[in-house]
Amino acid sequence: MIWKSTSDSEMFFLSILPLRHDDLKEMLDSNKDSLKLEAMKRIVAMIARGKNASDLFPAVVKNVACKNIEVKKLVYVYLVRYAEEQQDLALLSISTFQRGLKDPNQLIRASALRVLSSIRVTIIVPIMMLAIKEAASDMSPYVRKTAAHAIPKLYSLDPEQKDQLIEVIEKLLADKTTLVAGSVVMAFEEVCPERIDLIHKNYRKLCNLLIDVEEWGQVVIINMLTRYARTQFLNPNINEGSAEAMAMAKRKPYVMDPDHRLLLRNTKPLLQSRNAAVVMAVAQLYFHLAPKAEVGVIAKALVRLLRSHSEVQYVVLQNVATMTIKRRGMFEPYLKSFYIRSTDPTQIKVLKLEVLTNLANETNISTILREFQTYIKSMDKDFVAATIQAIGRCATNIGEVRDTCLNGLVQLLSNRDELVVAESVVVIKKLLQMQPEKHSDIIKHMAKLTDNIQVPMARASILWLIGEYCEHVPKIAPDVLRKMAKSFTNEEDIVKLQIINLAAKLYLTNSKQTKLLTQYVLNLAKYDQNYDIRDRARFIRQLIVPTEKSGALSKYAKKLFLALKPAPVLESPFKDRDHFQLGSLSHLLNAKAGGYQELPDWPEAAPDPSVRNVEVKESVRACDTQCGSDNLICQTFLSPFDSDLFSTESDSASGSESGSGSGEESGSGSASEESEEGSDSEEEEEEMEKDNKKKTKIEFKKQVQESESTVKSYELLHRITGEGLSVEYCFSRQPFSSDANMVAVQMQFTNNSTSETKSLHMEDVKLQSGMRVKEFAEIESLPAGESATAVMGIDFCDSTQAANFQLKFFVSIQPPVGELMQPVFLTENEFKKEQGQLMGMNEITEKLTLDIKCRNEHAIVQRVTTTANLSRVPCGSDKECRFAGRTVTSGSLVLVTVVTKDEGATQLTVNCEKMVIGTMLVKDILLALTQ
């Protein structure tokens, strides 16, 4: 009971003395957090060191609801480690997590789900399933991400839940946040990689989100999309290869699917990632999917990775080796990057050598051979052996240098190191087989080596050579056999087999000199310990030595033994490895790893590309259902027009509409005409109001359906989180009456609960420096089922930082950059003059290809004005659209020019003094015009 008298000195001893489990238990039972913490730290340290701490389970689990956050975290660590072993006791903690799942704080909800799904206790599978389903529709993307993480955990615990989990995955795949994308694709890959049909609708979204997903998610998504693309698109390299394919291609010229192009385009910037895994993932995607002419871009990035840690180099070189076999030209410019340094680890040296060999061709072979010469002198003998083999391969592949290589190798035969000589012999043997008649002096030279060389493989190779070409060296061959017969009993097995072989061949060609020797060797072999050798001797004797019993075969003995043998093909061990997806573990091991998904072959004919079309309507509808009722959304959109603000609102809306007035669209055309008239005189406006309202209503409904309404509404508070109160807001794009520097934000409150909500007002406003807010007037009460609107003003200081405040619940408003400006009217000349003053750093130009639906002036104007609160500037050319506006706070000019060329090629220019605004605006408009 040391700690009961807690003086500092005793606490000090506590941290030194090892404690028994009983002491730890008592510390955990105490009511002091510091003692609990100390005990938990010790326990976790035990776990980390791999010591068993399982009998403390009951004492630890009691602290799961501890207030101290560090104790709590450590208890979680303990639980996740031991819950599997003590399932019954672990159940005690479940209720705490269930409570956590309902917490208003998203991070607590997420952490509760994380621990709950990590304790592997089968009995709670239904609870987990329920929690995952709930979390998958949580309003916080972080909780949804955690839900995605929990899916594979549940699946590994109980694979029978697969169907239900697929439903959740399907739902999460439709999620639009980058936070969720990586995690849900990971879950998809672990649970149902075969359900490629789930990807169709999300394909384009995943491609577009990719760049903003966190790096680990990028890797998983890219690998998955590679597989997807292989099933859905046509082979872009169909024209290379077999004649049949050519014929097919002639019939129907290859056109790349735009979705295929989208994938290639959106992954390319990721080659610049700092994460080697991401770079490798993009590289393999390009290797497997890109047209031959475009694959080259990956070489530079892969070569860059060679500067990284040696483990990274190892993996990258393995993949480069495979790539160089199929696409040699790609890496040729980087030949020197694969030169070997004496300090490289052996496995790296061997791989670089492999790459260099694959890259060798007629033009660079002399450089490569010179480089190889320095390697041969290395102290690392394994590496030298590999170099000799590499030289052999170069010699077989490139006819011009065969003699040079052979001479070089022969010189190595006098090397002092036996391993080097042996390896050379083996390689020379292979080379000689190609043109034996020219090289009888080399064979003679090698015959001499039998006296010195002890490496069995080399001896065997020499003997085989002499036997095979005994006619070229008729005098030496029998002498070699004589020597070998003497040492037969002391040789290794492979050498013995070759001695028998040599004897047999000599017997057939030169039986006069060697008959007795052969008999002697065969007799020795007959009593050898190794049965292979005994068998071989028996077999050969029957074949070559004619007796009465010997059958018809012996007549053909000569043909059998001295048949012309084809020269061996020296192949790279990396040949054909590309049937594994590059960058995968299976590719590296050249064997299928568990859970590996085969890379499918290209389809003969492309499946229907329309499966990837996402109808815009659907997204609106999805939003509808989220909001609870179909009526609600209409109300939200229409209510502004019922309020007093109607006239100005309709004015500004019509202003932008009439700006686009090509007059071809009947609906919008008439509406704008009317409202233009309306603005002519105030009296008329009064009269027309009713009529107008109807029309706008109709028009608005239409626009909602097209989801292209100029006034877009955002969710501020969801009715579930808001306990019945839902709030939506929109940027009404009208000047805020009391302060010109503020952006007007229109809010729509709806009370979906059954009771009245009272006193709605803003509290606890948290702003970045410089920002200001004009609060809306307090809404005293909102009866059940009713809606109300209010307008507030926010000065965002020309930045997209969020304004945070409390509205019974914590909410935040973040403006899209396009809402930070208001339209100004400029003439063409004014526009040009202003633009001339905003050149250089203040001008951002971007090239893009217009979406097919957006290739007319009207559509461009509509999309640009939807994205940003700008007005159109008149312009003489119909190929050019200009827009102008000023930022709300500082009044800096924002000028936008869209110049269209043929086939949707378009140049977008933004001139703005505020570069940040300019950059962000370009991004937004780009998105609006290309989608």
Binding site: Q272, R274, R307, T919
Partner: protein
């Protein structure tokens, strides 16, 4: 994905284990130990090993092995990159990544590992996010904690994970706002016997130390961005801006980070700052050899070469070296056969020279190869490629930050063959 992690020291003791799924026994590491035995040098252990039921992927950092156990298909680079990120995080938190430090901070390490992976899939790997959740230990804090019973776990929940710029923590405040950038270039080169360049290239990196209040949006531009042949960026850099304008536009993480790495291609002629005259020979007769090395300045752009050091891996047969250096000290390690000559500053008037005799093991044949020389050097205030930062602008915040750029050139993998 990643199933378990074992940390193993040089002598083969497992001093930390962490499992993200069911527990896997330590015996799985035996396969690794077997491979380590075979590969004499720890560097030569293959990073990926196959065992009957698992795959082992390991990295070597400092003197520690980080060994992860995998059960199913996963891109090996994914795991390797993650393990290095773990090691980087330890380095960042504790200033060092060694066995002693990890053992001293066992609980913090364990908490970090818990946050970095969820069920084997990376969760939070950004140092800024982690530091919000688990505070790095400082002496002051550990003293305060022992007295008050406080903790190292942040009581505010991390918001970084929720934002779309996860690399920056929210609510950063400094009284002195400063942003420093170090442009570090390394020359990778192989020179042959006669001093001609076999291959040479420049690898550069820009390390940043940014301590700025709020959410600054920085733009860094170069005088001559066309020099850069190949680049890779921290995720904060807006790639589009780079493509169109060749400027680095980014909202920086708080603290130290690597902004970008780049490569200057070998097509441009690379300036080699020093030349080496060497003569190493082993005599056919008698067990001895001779060594004579002189180093002089070549293309130094008028700057002083500092921190000059020559490392030679001698053949096994060399027993000892009896040398005299006109400048600096030399040492010869008998066990590893490594000769190190630490020269220091290069004086162009009086070139440093090392000469003398090497004594060899008797009865062993003369080594075939002459060992190659590895050279280290450093030149302050110079980026050898000629890259220059032209300006740094800040948007989005009102204060005036203090800005600075420093240039250093070093020798990377600089080897002279003999």
């Amino acid at each position: 994905m990643i199933h378990s992690l074992f940390l193993i020291n040089q002598s083969g003791d497992i001093f930390l284990e962490k499992h993200w799924k069911s527990v896997i026994g330590r015996s799985v590491c035996d396969y690794f130990f077997e491979a380590k035995e075979k590969a004499v040098d720890p560097e030569n252990v293959a990073p990926v090993l196959q065992t009957p039921h698992h795959y082992l992927i390991s990295i070597l950092r400092g003197k520690l092995f980080f060994l992860s156990v995998i059960q199913t298909e996963v891109p090996p680079l994914f795991v390797i990159e993650f393990l290095h990120r773990v090691a980087d995080t330890f380095q960042d938190y504790f200033g060092d990544c060694s066995e002693g430090v990890i053992k001293d901070n066992l609980v913090t390490v364990y908490e970090l590992l818990e946050e970095m992976l969820d069920n084997g899939f990376p969760l939070a790997t950004e140092s800024n996010v982690l530091k919000e959740m688990i505070r790095p230990p400082t002496i002051l804090r550990s003293v305060v904690n022992t007295l008050t019973g406080g903790s190292n776990v942040g009581d505010t929940l991390p918001t970084g994970q929720l934002s779309n710029i996860p690399w920056r923590r929210a609510g950063v405040k400094y009284t002195n706002n400063e942003a420093y950038f170090d442009v570090i270039e390394e020359i990778d080169a192989i020179l042959d016997k006669s001093g001609t360049t076999v291959c040479a290239e420049i690898q550069g990196v820009i390390e940043a130390c940014v301590r700025l209040t709020g959410m600054p949006d920085l733009t860094l531009s170069f005088m001559n961005p066309r020099l850069l042949d190949d680049v890779s960026f921290h995720p904060c850099v807006r790639f589009k801006r780079w493509e169109s304008e060749r400027v680095l536009s980014f909202i920086p993480p708080d603290g130290n980070f690597t902004l970008m790495t780049y490569h200057v291609s070998s097509q441009n002629l690379v300036a080699i700052p020093v030349y080496v005259k060497q003569n190493i020979s082993f005599f056919e007769t008698g067990p001895c050899g001779r060594l004579d090395i002189t180093i002089g300045p070549k293309q130094t752009m008028g700057k002083t070469v500092e921190g000059l050091m020559v490392t030679i891996h001698m053949p096994k047969a060399v027993l000892s070296a009896n040398l005299t250096a006109t400048q600096g000290n030399y040492s010869y390690d008998l066990a590893t056969k490594v000769l190190v000559w630490d020269i220091g500053k290069l004086n162009p008037q009086k070139l440093p020279n090392l000469r003398g005799s090497l004594s060899m093991q008797a009865g062993v044949p003369r080594p075939e190869e002459n060992p190659s020389l590895n050279i280290e050097l450093k030149i302050q205030q110079l980026a050898i490629s000629g890259l220059k930062v032209s300006r740094l602008d800040m948007y989005g915040e009102k204060y005036k930050p203090f800005k600075g750029v420093k240039y250093v050139t070093k020798a990377g993998k600089f080897q002279v063959r003999t």
